[in-house]
């Protein structure tokens, strides 16, 4: 470990904290539906969209209607992508002449991008045409992110509104977030990426004769435009198989740093936006503090483990850090930090191969996802997931002091707690259930590349990543089979929408309640005690459930690694 490595991690967090309020204030303007300076240019696009689609942006929707429109929109987008991927072979924009995808792969990929997971059972360079990348996948990078932020707005309104039946308008939220936040940021970002060496062309393969006289084929394409929103929207689906380890996606250490910042940027801002929405920005800062504590714990362990290196290689006369699966231009600190960021948020982009991390270095990404990706989390999904934990935390605090729990002016009663538990139970139920199923069936056991506990870790990682909607992988697993494409597809769908619907139901129930002013007996939800309670609840509820599975996977792998036992 080096001073520079720690400075990188702490400097990274400091920059994001400095950006929290400006980004949060911009998000709050969109939450309120206020006019922004960008309306001069994009306002006509917004009103044009509403007119063509027959939408009244001021119509107020209750939670059921909000959920219905959200689900139907996502189903349509998914159907579009499924069609584009299946028909790829006959559509234009296909310079490599690639064939259409198989039904199970198209099914898996369409769900994957709709649910903001971006799990990729395929290698981009040999599977996806330029048109599929843009028209089939990039659209989801925007709209699954915008859907997540819209849902967070709806949840905020549940707390902020009093005796109200409505949570806002889904179409207005999605359209404003896309037009006034994601699209303009992506444009600026993509220009920066192109300037730094990320290709942006409609061309295909370029053949070169290397300095040694061999032939090398380089694939070019519309990479920068996809890369920008892949990060900002915590999507993570790479243009190339190697994702952000590929030099065309992530050519320099500076680009790498900006990529990490952009994964967290909106998630940090949303905590401030929440505080503002409920009338006390300290509520937002308290949530952010708990998230940052959880994040730094994970990032530190990952950095320590990767810097300590692999004893198996030390034994073979290669001392020092673990460089298997890592790029020289990033080194271990930036690779470990990236792994912690991408799994704390539900991004899933990788700049190093998690499968080749040391056992404990690989445990951290897995554990981050198992916490439910509420440590900053995916755009929108992170904060509403975290607020579900906050509801349980005030409930636990209420039990201890014997009072009806309250949170930001709303009484938390049996209905909210039941629904929150229902949403949170989705993770262990499906992650552990599907992992167990795959660990005892021939189709499941055909997947892992590595043997021994690490092979089990590959299966566990896949279902964790799918249910948590992350998308990163222990990529040794061969997942493009009907078994894994099918199960993981279902896992991603459940992990997204089985949490969203109870969450919206809670929001609807909260919005209908009266405002309860804080009294002397209320549990304060802004101080250090509250932050500590939040961290504890997330670790206990989210983490403890998975400890036995971690013992069978990475922890057993670690014990084998320090003994030098190979598989």
């Amino acid at each position: 470990m080096t001073f520079q490595g720690w400075a990188l991690i702490l400097g990274f967090v400091a920059i994001l904290i400095a950006l929290t309020k400006p980004v949060g204030a911009w998000l709050f303007a969109l939450y309120e539906g206020r006019r922004t300076p960008l309306h001069v240019v994009l306002g006509p696009v917004e009103t044009g969209f509403y007119k063509l689609a027959g939408i009244d942006p001021d119509e107020q929707q209750g939670w059921r209607r909000y959920a219905l429109h959200m689900l139907l929109f996502n189903a349509m987008l998914m159907a579009l992508t499924y069609a584009v991927l299946r028909l790829q072979g006959v559509l234009p924009g296909n310079p490599q002449g690639l064939a259409g995808l198989s039904p199970h792969l198209a099914f898996n990929t369409a769900i994957s991008f709709t649910t903001n997971t971006n799990w990729q059972s395929y290698a981009g360079e040999s599977t996806m045409s330029n048109l599929s990348q843009m028209f089939g996948l990039t659209i989801h990078n925007f709209l699954s992110a915008a859907t997540g932020i819209a849902l967070a707005f709806a949840f905020f309104r549940g707390f902020a509104r009093r005796e109200s039946r409505s949570l806002g308008n889904f179409w207005a939220d999605v359209t404003r977030v896309t037009l006034y936040l994601l699209l303009p940021l992506s444009i600026v970002y993509a220009v920066f990426l192109i300037a730094s060496g990320v290709p942006q062309t409609m061309g295909g393969v370029v053949d070169v004769q290397t300095l040694e006289g061999a032939k090398q084929s380089l694939l070019l394409g519309p990479v920068a435009s996809q890369e920008a929103i892949k990060m900002l929207g915590t999507n993570g689906g790479g243009f190339f198989n190697a994702n952000s380890a590929h030099p065309f996606e992530n050519p320099t250490a500076l680009v790498d740093f900006v990529q990490m910042l952009s994964i967290f940027l909106i998630g940090f801002g949303l905590t401030w936006c929440f505080g503002k929405a409920v009338g006390n920005t300290r509520q937002g800062w308290a949530i952010l503090a708990a998230m940052v504590i959880l994040f730094l714990m994970g990032a530190s362990v990952a950095y320590w483990a990767e810097a300590a290196g692999n004893p198996v290689l030390h034994h073979l006369g290669v001392p020092g850090v673990n460089m298997e699966g890592k790029e020289v231009r990033f080194g271990v600190a930036a690779s470990a930090l990236f792994a912690a960021v991408t799994t704390a948020a539900s991004c899933g982009a990788v700049n190093a191969m998690h499968d080749s991390f040391t056992a404990l270095g690989g445990l951290i990404p897995l554990f981050n996802m198992q916490l439910g990706e509420v440590v900053i989390g995916g755009v929108g999904a992170g904060i509403y997931g975290f607020l579900l934990f906050a509801i349980l935390a005030v409930f636990v605090a209420g039990l201890m002091v014997g009072r009806t729990p309250e949170y930001v002016g709303k009484k938390i009663e049996a209905r909210e707690v039941k629904l929150a538990v229902l949403a949170i139970a989705v993770l262990p139920l499906f992650i552990l259930g599907m992992t167990a199923l795959s660990a005892v069936t021939a189709q499941g056991l055909a997947g892992p590349l590595n043997k021994g506990p690490h092979g089990f870790g590959e299966i566990l990682y896949a279902f964790t990543s799918a249910v948590a909607n992350n998308g990163s992988a222990f990529a040794g697993l061969t997942a493009s089979t009907p078994w894994y494409d099918g199960l993981l597809g279902v896992a991603m769908w459940v992990g997204r929408f089985f949490i969203i619907v109870p969450m919206l139901a809670i929001a609807g129930s909260l919005a209908a309640k009266k405002h309860t002013p804080a009294s002397a007996g209320s549990f304060p939800t802004t101080g250090g005690l509250w932050v500590g309670l939040l961290v504890g609840i997330v670790l206990v509820l989210g983490g403890l459930t998975f400890l036995p599975s971690l013992a069978l996977g990475p922890i057993a792998d670690h014990l084998a690694m320090i003994r030098g036992q190979l598989f």
């Binding site: 696009v45 969209f49 689609a53 027959g54 219905l68 429109h69 929109f73 189903a75 987008l77 290698a123 990039t138 659209i139 179409w171 999605v174 992506s186 444009i187 220009v191 192109i194 300037a195 060496g197 290709p199 062309t201 409609m202 393969v205 370029v206 070169v208 040694e212 090398q216 380089l218 190697a242 590929h246 030099p247 065309f248 050519p251 320099t252 250490a253 500076l254 790498d256 198996v312 073979l316 290669v318 001392p319 020092g320 673990n322 298997e324 699966g325 790029e327 020289v328 231009r329 930036a334 080749s356 056992a359 690989g362 590349l449 590595n450 506990p453 222990f474 040794g476 792998d557 690694m561």
Partner: protein
């Protein structure tokens, strides 16, 4: 509820089409236009040409160097090595027998070439992309005696090339671009 469902179809279908056109076609084509106009070199893959104008690679993507006369690149799991259409890491876990066997063989090979002292970790490990364009300065320095011998150059002159081609960044580790380094080596030999 049924009424609700039917009335939700029109906005869902219309917004899908409108957004797909804006985000899936207008946005990427506009970025391509901007990129090709302002940064045509980078937008087309940062291609490097030799004195005769022939394209010999990309300055950002790694290519295989296996000859004794050049600084050799890291082991690669991309296809048969540095395959630009098959980027990949090895995905070997920390307790993989296959990883240990590969590293053991590479260490023996490097020692046979006369690499002495600490074995630089990146020299015997595969990168995440299989297309790593760089070596650590230590991994380049370890190859200096071999190159000096094969090319009949003074060791100090070869070693000096590494220092001039090393890139530093606040956000990552020091690295030497192998293609740039080997081109400098060729220019020095001519």
């Amino acid at each position: 509820m049924n009424q609700d469902l039917v009335s939700a179809f029109r906005p869902a279908i219309a917004m899908t089409i409108l957004f797909a056109i804006l985000l899936g076609l207008v946005y990427p084509f506009a970025m391509t236009g901007i990129g090709q106009t302002i940064f045509p070199d980078q937008a087309n893959g940062s291609l490097v040409r030799d004195a005769g104008g022939r394209v010999i690679g990309s300055s950002v993507v790694g290519q295989a160097f296996v000859s004794d006369r050049y600084f050799q690149t890291r082991p690669s799991a991309a296809g048969k090595g540095y395959d630009g259409l098959a980027s990949s890491g090895s995905n070997y876990g920390p307790t993989s027998q296959a990883l240990a066997d590969r590293v053991k063989a590479d260490v023996a090979k490097r020692r046979g070439e006369g690499v002495v002292g600490t074995m630089p970790a990146d020299l015997v490990t595969a990168s995440g992309s299989g297309l790593d364009p760089d070596l650590s300065p230590a991994a380049a320095e370890a190859q200096v005696p071999r190159i000096a011998r094969v090319r009949g150059l003074p060791v100090a002159k070869v070693a000096a090339l590494i220092a001039t081609n090393t890139g530093e960044s606040l956000f990552g580790d020091p690295h030497v671009n192998v293609l740039a380094l080997n081109r400098a080596l060729d220019r020095m030999t001519q």
